[in-house]
Symmetry: C2
Subunit: 247 residues, 2 copies
């Protein structure tokens, strides 16, 4: 049991949180030249699927050579360093899918309602990227290659869609609880303030103000959680334990 | 003299408005596989320059094969269709730059102040993408290849940084002027409302409400403008002409 998400889990969480990226293919002219294009995707399990026109440059490239990679980057946040954003490059081969059109269309249009208007056009079809390897960069200095099996096996963080709301709630309404976590559970006696800056299925991160400057701390949940309600119960238990220690 | 910006001008304007993109290179392993990565750029004239570490995957790829392309996409706007955003793929070769380090550093760090912290690290160096061709996609159905010379010659729209402010001002404070443009200069007699949805050096775009539904209209400035003050004067002259026609 890891106290922090694995890189495979971080990459799967990132893929699940976004729906657009950059596809690298090999151009026809000049032949073999790397070509980057913008496109939207949905996920069929761990595999990205695309609904693309036969007329598009990337599709023409793939018809000639199926090798491709898909780059997905965390959403832009005002004022944040571009290179601090997490990103993943999924490397593999991209081929048209012949079966299962109705299921793929439902799945794709659920993620991209605007695609309904062209999903049935004769020149549009579904393609799947079969991933053979993943390059994950979680910001400065946190990077690795992930093999395809670990990537397929990992699960996106079930808390990710709720994480922002949890942070806002904890920092706005429970700053005292955050400070108790920092003092009692992270053992930072001199903490004067603590802000929750991240939460995932395995635990949460605090940025703690001390007389020596800011410090970060990671606290693990006793067992992984999967719903916002589980988080709430666990955080209440943890603040009781923290206050008992400080009493 | 064109009444709307050329694709080369639109691509140059897009490049000037952004500072990050996706670089496609050719991987070392598996050899020749297209590889997409996230990076930041600055512009030296029409050429993107990068400050990258020798240790990064894309740099290792470029050291083996300089062929590359850079995809730049318009910023995300809440609620807007991802495929409606303009984008450009700059195709060329990317090589290290040996001369002019101080000038490039000043230029790059002006656009990316955070880069000052690592600009002098021994493993970081400047690279330039020499552009041989550009693929421009301005949204649904507006796309073309632009040759390198036309791209280099084109100038970014000098109004682009001010355009959003001009639209807000015109729509908030001069809705009557917009309606006069629509009725008198675009000759849409039945216009009941007109919203300015775009402005550039050559003119502006209106979305006009009529009893038969919305219509778009493009109105050219009598001569191209290059400053917000020129736009203001020109729009005042145009509303006088419009009102004289309607009187």
């Amino acid at each position: 049991m890891s106290a922090t998400p694995s890189h495979a889990e971080r990459a799967r969480t990132l893929l699940a949180s976004r729906n657009e990226g950059a596809l690298a293919t090999l151009a026809r002219d000049p032949a073999g030249h790397p070509y980057a294009s913008h496109l939207i995707y949905a996920l069929d399990g761990a595999a990205p699927i695309f609904l693309i026109s036969r007329l598009a440059e990337h599709t023409q490239n793939l018809l000639r050579d199926p090798r491709a990679s898909l780059l997905v980057v965390e959403a832009e946040r005002e004022g944040e360093d571009s290179l601090a954003r997490g990103r993943a490059t999924l490397i593999g081969t991209c081929n048209p899918i012949d079966e299962d059109r109705d299921r793929l269309e439902a799945l794709f249009c659920d993620r991209h309602p605007g695609a309904r208007t062209y999903a049935r056009f004769a020149d549009f079809g579904f393609w799947r990227l079969s991933v053979s390897m993943v390059r994950y960069v979680g910001g400065f200095g946190r990077m690795s290659f992930i093999d395809a099996e670990a990537f397929a096996r990992a699960e996106p963080d079930p808390l990710a869609p709720a994480a922002h709301g949890i942070l806002v709630h904890m920092n706005d309404d429970h700053a005292d609880a955050c400070l108790a976590y920092a003092r009692a559970l992270a053992a930072i006696d001199g903490a004067s303030e603590a802000v929750m800056i991240g939460v995932d299925r395995y635990g949460f991160d605090l940025r703690v103000t001390t007389s020596e400057g800011p410090r970060d701390a990671r606290l693990a949940f006793p067992t992984p959680v999967s719903t916002p309600n589980d988080v709430r119960k666990t955080l209440v238990e943890m603040v009781r334990a923290a206050r008992a220690k400080l009493a």
